[in-house]
Symmetry: C2
């Protein structure tokens, strides 16, 4: 069902020196599928992450934040699928901590050097004993070339594992960037939560890591939405092992920082797009570009107003150029004093709206033509300024309802 999305070719997922990955069947929700993943990092690895803004942040998110604040170098992460460990109170926090302790004993580090992640059903207690029982198998399978298997082990309602990889020359050295992600619903980064892990062997100073992870998130995962629902477990973690041999990047103004950011974005953007391509029930991949805004936030707000409208999304599912719905959505974006007479809309190469009214040359057959393909571009020009943002989303189909009405059954 995913739109133009193939599983990652294991041979194209470049190993990142200092990172090994293992997986196991823990039987957390369903038997007979890999649902536990362990990533181990070499000493000297720097890690930074950004997490859900949902007030009901899950227990593993709370523990991740606590461990990252402790300033202990992260040596491993543990991810389970099938249970989100959210809405589980003190018992949930204890379960997340027990997961870290079990992994720490096996890999030989402090429990605070382990970050826990969970994705799946909310409001049910995590069967932490099953995780503890399966962790030894995870450790046994640790290998640098298990990125594709790791991508599969963290899936929930995902139909396709998601991975991307690139290499770049930074400071005269070959640097590798490889990442995996999951998530297809409850996603303005569902019950399928978004989790993403991107690792590089580049050397970059710890103080710059948080800046880099935020900048990358803002240009990738934060620009994707499936249903506008923000999960309680969203996490994006950037790992840098410093094993590529490049001179450590210590300034965001340095060309090497920019080059590394570009390399990380080359992995993060396709991963983010993969989430929309595999959006629950998706039949279309939609790119919404809003230009002429006064600032980035305004451009993003208009793009997301379109991307979140159930009416826009169902029209795209039907390939029906019912483009008045775009107008409605733009008008609901909450842009103060929007001068609608300055707004123009293009669907692909077809101009639909000019100066706030139906374009005189617009013909419905042209709209229908550009609505048919599986990939559709919308461009809205607001005529207010020079800021521009792009958001990726998918359509809203019968299968979205089916998937979410039947998720637990």
């Amino acid at each position: 069902m995913a739109v133009n999305l193939l599983p990652p070719d294991p041979a194209a997922m470049l190993p990142v020196a200092g990172v090994t990955l293992g997986f196991a069947e823990a039987g957390i929700r369903k038997a007979g599928r890999r649902d536990l993943m362990l990533m181990q990092f070499a000493p000297g690895t720097r890690v930074a992450g950004v997490f859900t803004q949902n007030s009901f942040a899950a227990a593993p998110v709370l523990v991740c934040r606590e461990h990252l604040r402790a300033n202990v170098a992260v040596r491993a992460i543990v991810v389970n699928a099938g249970n989100a460990n959210c809405g589980t109170g003190e018992q949930g926090l204890a379960a997340a901590r027990a997961t870290c302790s079990a992994a720490a004993r096996l890999v030989g580090c402090d429990a605070k050097a382990v970050l826990p992640f969970s994705t799946g059903i909310i409001l049910e207690h995590l069967p932490v004993n099953r995780i503890e029982a399966a962790l030894p198998a995870c450790v046994k399978s640790l290998a640098p070339n298990h990125w594709a298997d790791a991508a599969a082990a963290i899936m929930t309602t995902d139909t396709v594992p998601k991975g991307a990889s690139t290499a770049a020359t930074i400071g005269g050295k070959r640097v590798h960037v490889t990442g995996i992600a999951k998530g297809v619903g409850m996603l303005q980064p569902n019950m399928a939560t978004m989790l993403a892990y991107v690792a590089t062997d580049a050397a970059i100073a710890q103080p710059l890591m948080l800046r880099l992870v935020k900048e990358v998130a803002d240009r990738s995962f934060n620009r994707v939405t499936v249903d506008g629902d923000t999960s309680t477990n969203d996490s994006f973690v950037l790992i840098a092992t410093a094993q590529a041999g490049n001179a450590e990047i210590t300034s965001a103004d340095h060309a090497d920082y920019v080059a590394l950011r570009e390399a990380v974005l080359k992995v993060a953007i396709p991963l983010a797009q993969a989430i929309a391509r595999d959006g629950e029930g998706a039949t279309k991949f939609i790119t919404i570009r809003v230009s002429g805004a006064q600032d980035d936030a305004q451009a993003a707000r208009v793009a997301k107003a379109i991307a979140h409208s159930p009416l826009v999304k169902t029209a795209f599912f039907a390939s029906d150029p019912n483009l008045g719905r775009l107008i409605m959505a733009i008008g609901n974006a909450g842009v103060a004093d929007l001068d609608t007479s300055r707004v123009s809309i293009w669907l692909g190469d077809v101009r639909v709206l000019s100066n706030g009214g139906r374009d005189a040359a617009y013909r419905e057959e042209d709209g229908a033509r550009v609505m048919k393909p599986a990939e559709i571009d919308i461009h809205v020009a607001l005529g207010r300024g020079s800021a521009e943002q792009t958001v990726w989303t998918c359509d809203f189909s019968y299968d979205y309802v089916k998937i979410n009405a039947e998720y637990r059954t």
Copy 2:
């Protein structure tokens, strides 16, 4: 498909002295259905309205605002279904004005004394010649007992006409309040737009009319949402003919004002609920009460975050007590510093969440029991203050997608 909603009994729709209603088949979008409605008011009638906050407010909304600002006593309203006259630029404004002029000639008043309303497809030009051709038939059919017919003539994707009526004694006089509404999607008060008209024969001073219409809207139509999409054409108009013989209400502090507001709410609330009961594809009618908020806006924001979540709505469609989605939605409401450990949730009489975690006594079979009926109550206690708000909505079904993927075909 509507949830526990019957068409208004014509005999129960009390006539309002000073108001007559007519209808006709104008063939605006489809032939063979009544799609044009005219309401005429006696001299001395006061009118006030509230309109969509969408930046792309439709041409008729712009003309309504202009006419109401002109301080000419409103003598008639004209409503067409099938075309929203939105995204139609200057041509659309001219069409709305031409509609008013044609009606004014027929009923003998100034064009500014006519308010125009349109509902239906956006971004297509209004066939104003068909309206002009059908208006004489509207005038011919004007009668005080045509409320139920008028309710049917303004429908788009509505499956049931919506009307309500009550009587009260105010200032020692029998006062009547009767109203009609339409709207089933693009509705956080869709292509089905919300339109509502409530008339009373009470005498109330013009300066109080706007206050009354706002207070009533805030406690009725503004508390309904189907899909979170706010139409370009939403309008709620209150009409007071001053023919009941009560002493004119001139102060909002007077008991008569409160009595009239209660009477108007007795009509407006069931009309608002009727919109959610007939929400596109609805199989459940859901009442969401949020208490313990710091202010009304915060309570409403949390209630609407739940009501807008596609994941919550699909779970209710499935009668699946996947109640973690309620937590997710509350966490996304943007309440600053929400102390989740103070939050409790009840579904009907079943306590689901206590102090931010799954209630120890909660059993899934109890959740499943209260999820089954067509009417479901959710109560969220935030534990922050004493403000409380209630929002009405419906579930999200296959038929919502079907209706909106096929609306124009």
